[in-house]
């Protein structure tokens, strides 16, 4: 069975907010709401470190890291268990999703989510531009919404928007049940944490910290399954397949994302407006 998960390499993350912004745009997230937030671990404010400057030739103690945070797509998701009307449910592929036509807006799921990943449409959602953005229909007033791992893209064989738009290759999406997927390999190879592990929610989002992963060196429009010769363990440069340069010309995006067989959805091409 497919069981989608996300690996976020906090060592690679540069705190640029590209994932937060592309999420907002792709999913037509209303003004005043965020599904995906890049939090600063360090000082009291965004982009501020903790600690002090080096003085008198000392080394200083400045410290800062970023923690991109969205719905963790918990295995034992409390939001799914509390939803009285089955509006929040876990898909067969492990994605936790909300049926916006069913949600009664009781907000029990917001109480249940330990990560504050959910937002509620307190009034008629506003969009800029008014017609909305991205590929997802607007949600009405009075329902709860949140990150869907871009299920509409995944269904088409594409990675979530935040993954393709991360310029630091800090986000890797894939099938946790497939031993050979990059996410599985990284979870085995690197030291990874889940947020608030002690709550027993068993999130499908894993954070790498400590040693930096090579990220996602693929820049080809080929599926990962076709890139077997590309080793994610090397430092990248020589792994870029030759085809990569050829695909640069296809600027439209979309057309070359067809899935072959049951391949797991993966990297769209350079030309799709993400990685370039």
């Amino acid at each position: 069975m497919t069981n989608y998960g996300l690996v976020i390499d906090q060592e690679r993350c540069i705190g640029c907010q590209a994932c937060a912004v592309s999420c907002k745009q792709e999913n037509n997230v209303p003004m005043g709401q965020f599904w995906n937030r890049v939090l600063t671990e360090g000082g009291d404010k965004i982009d501020t470190p903790s600690g002090g400057y080096p003085d008198d030739g000392g080394s200083g103690s400045l410290d800062m890291q970023y923690q991109p945070t969205a719905c963790q797509h918990c295995e034992n998701a409390p939001c799914v268990k509390v939803c009285p009307v089955n509006a929040t449910y876990t898909r067969d592929d492990g994605i936790v999703e909300i049926d916006y036509d069913k949600c009664i807006g009781c907000r029990y799921c917001m109480a249940a989510c330990p990560y504050n990943a959910r937002v509620f449409n307190w009034d008629e959602p506003e969009h800029m531009p008014e017609a909305g953005t991205g590929d997802v229909a607007a949600r009405p007033q009075g329902v709860v919404e949140k990150c869907t791992f871009c299920s509409h893209r995944v269904d088409e064989g594409l990675d979530p928007a935040c993954v393709v738009n991360c310029p630091a290759d800090a986000r890797i999406f894939g099938d946790l049940d497939d031993e050979g997927s990059t996410v599985s390999k990284y979870i085995n190879e690197y030291e990874t944490d889940q947020l608030l592990e002690d709550r027993g929610t068993n999130p499908k989002t894993h954070y790498i910290s400590g040693e930096m992963s090579p990220g996602r060196p693929q820049t080809s429009d080929k599926m990962e399954s076709e890139l077997d010769d590309v080793s994610p363990w090397s430092d990248g440069a020589e792994d870029v397949p030759a085809e990569a340069s050829e695909s640069d010309s296809s600027g439209s995006g979309g057309s070359h994302h067809s899935i072959e067989g049951d391949a797991a959805p993966h990297v769209p091409a350079v030309g799709s407006g993400g990685d370039d």
Binding site: R37, L39, T48, P78, A111, A112, P114, F120, R199
Partner: protein, 431 residues
């Protein structure tokens, strides 16, 4: 059977009565208008936002579920044990319970973002959700109260020729049968009441994500709280009814129930609270005095309002023998107990939402022009002040509860006047 076995508390509304009804009607209409306004603007009209996503409605829901306990328990417990103790409170108690559970149920409506979809509870319920359990038990409890009130009074209603008897006749055999039914209803009412308060507690106690909510003690505390506040409210209402209507409280029973309230208060505010706080205080502090103060000193003003104004003060009032016989003292102590319990619910919701588990900057998007302290869309902690809209909607619903009690006093023979009236049934089976 003669018609004088019972008494109606309000034979007819006088000037004051009409003024009271007018006041209630005004508040109800204002509440409806405020709800209408909230429906058109959305819940942005409330003080709730993404971090603090439940507010006054849920706090008051918790209070009124608790308040609905007292009456039913006071009238059904003696009936279950074939005693006619507190008979004078039996009908009034069930009436008050019915009003409170109605208020509690109605308070959920304005909290729901899309109330028109509530039918989903029937078409697509998830039985893992404590809210589904609570939905079921609140409805069951409401129906049970309605049935019980009717059962207690239907023969008297029939004797008076009231259409509310719904065609039941006043016969000796019928009254006999009703006593059996009352026993079985009482037998059902007690576990239902326990289930109601436990399940309402479990809505919170099952949540690992919300601070102190996740505690096995929440359900027992909800039961103790229901006993305190429910009995407190029943005493308040009975004293008021005694002063303002033809209803008469039996002084001796009142004093006795006052003592029981003292016991409930001791169990709830002293014992259970200590049991809840001591382990945390012990684990978090090292020095003896640090442990002691961590144990004794609460964290918020709600804590003090609840434990001192609503706990210690009424407890002392009810403990001093020279004081506790006075109706005014019982009345004040009961009122304080109800008032204090309100802040327990408030505190519970605050402990869940005040602190975000992940409070890194910039924080969580609030999702609406936040009218409170912060000015941008981000928050790293929960803050909440109810808006006027929430207050008016809540008052409107509470006024509806008061209307139920008032009309009950007018149309239902709320008091028996012939004394002895024990239930029958359980013993018969055993004979």
């Amino acid at each position: 059977m003669a018609a004088d076995t019972s008494r109606i508390a309000i034979p007819a509304f006088g000037t004051k009565g009409k003024l009271w009804l007018g006041l209630l009607a005004t508040v109800i209409v204002a509440g409806l208008a405020a709800w209408g306004y909230q429906l058109t603007t959305g819940l942005v009209a409330t003080g709730m936002r993404n971090v603090f996503s439940w507010g006054l409605y849920i706090m008051m829901f918790v209070l009124f579920v608790g308040l609905s306990a007292g009456g039913l328990i006071i009238s059904s417990a003696p009936k279950f044990f074939h005693s006619h103790r507190y008979e004078g409170f039996a009908r009034l108690g069930v009436l008050v319970s019915l009003a409170c559970i109605t208020v509690a149920g109605l308070l959920i409506l304005p909290d729901i973002g899309r109330p028109e979809r509530l039918y989903q509870f029937f078409t697509s319920p998830d039985f893992r959700s404590p809210m589904v359990w609570d939905f079921g038990i609140v409805i069951l409890y409401g129906v049970l109260n309605l049935w019980y009130l009717w059962l207690l009074t239907r023969r008297d209603l029939a004797a008076r020729g009231s259409p509310l008897a719904l065609g039941v006749d006043d016969t000796d055999a019928g009254r006999e049968r009703d006593r059996t039914l009352m026993f079985w209803t009482a037998a059902l009412a007690l576990p239902t009441a326990v289930a109601l308060h436990s399940v309402t507690g479990w809505i919170f106690a099952t949540q690992i994500g919300r601070g102190d909510w996740f505690s096995p003690l929440v359900a027992p505390v909800f039961i103790a709280k229901a006993l305190v506040s429910g009995l407190g409210l029943l005493l308040v209402v009975s004293v008021l009814a005694d002063r303002l209507t033809n209803y008469e409280v039996d002084r001796e029973e009142l004093t006795s129930l006052g003592k029981i309230l003292g016991v409930f208060l001791a169990l709830h505010v002293v014992y259970l609270l200590a049991a809840e706080r001591l382990p945390h205080a012990w684990a978090n502090h090292f020095e003896f005095w640090a442990i002691t103060s961590g144990f004794l000193i609460g964290e918020s003003v709600y804590f003090w309002l609840w434990t001192v104004v609503g706990g210690a003060v009424p407890l002392v009032m009810l403990m001093i023998p020279s004081l506790r016989k006075r109706v005014s003292v019982i009345f004040t102590a009961s009122l304080l107990a109800v008032f204090g319990t309100m802040f327990e619910g408030v505190r519970l919701v605050f402990t869940g939402y005040e602190v975000a588990n992940i409070d890194l900057p910039p924080g969580i998007s609030l999702g609406g022009e936040y009218a409170g302290i912060t000015t941008d869309i981000w928050a790293t902690a929960g803050a909440y002040t109810p808006t006027l809209v929430e207050v008016v909607v809540t008052l409107g619903i509470v006024a509806f509860g008061a209307l139920i009690v008032t009309l009950g006093l007018k149309y239902v023979p709320i008091q028996r006047v012939d004394g002895q009236y024990a239930t029958d049934g359980g013993t018969k089976e055993r004979q």
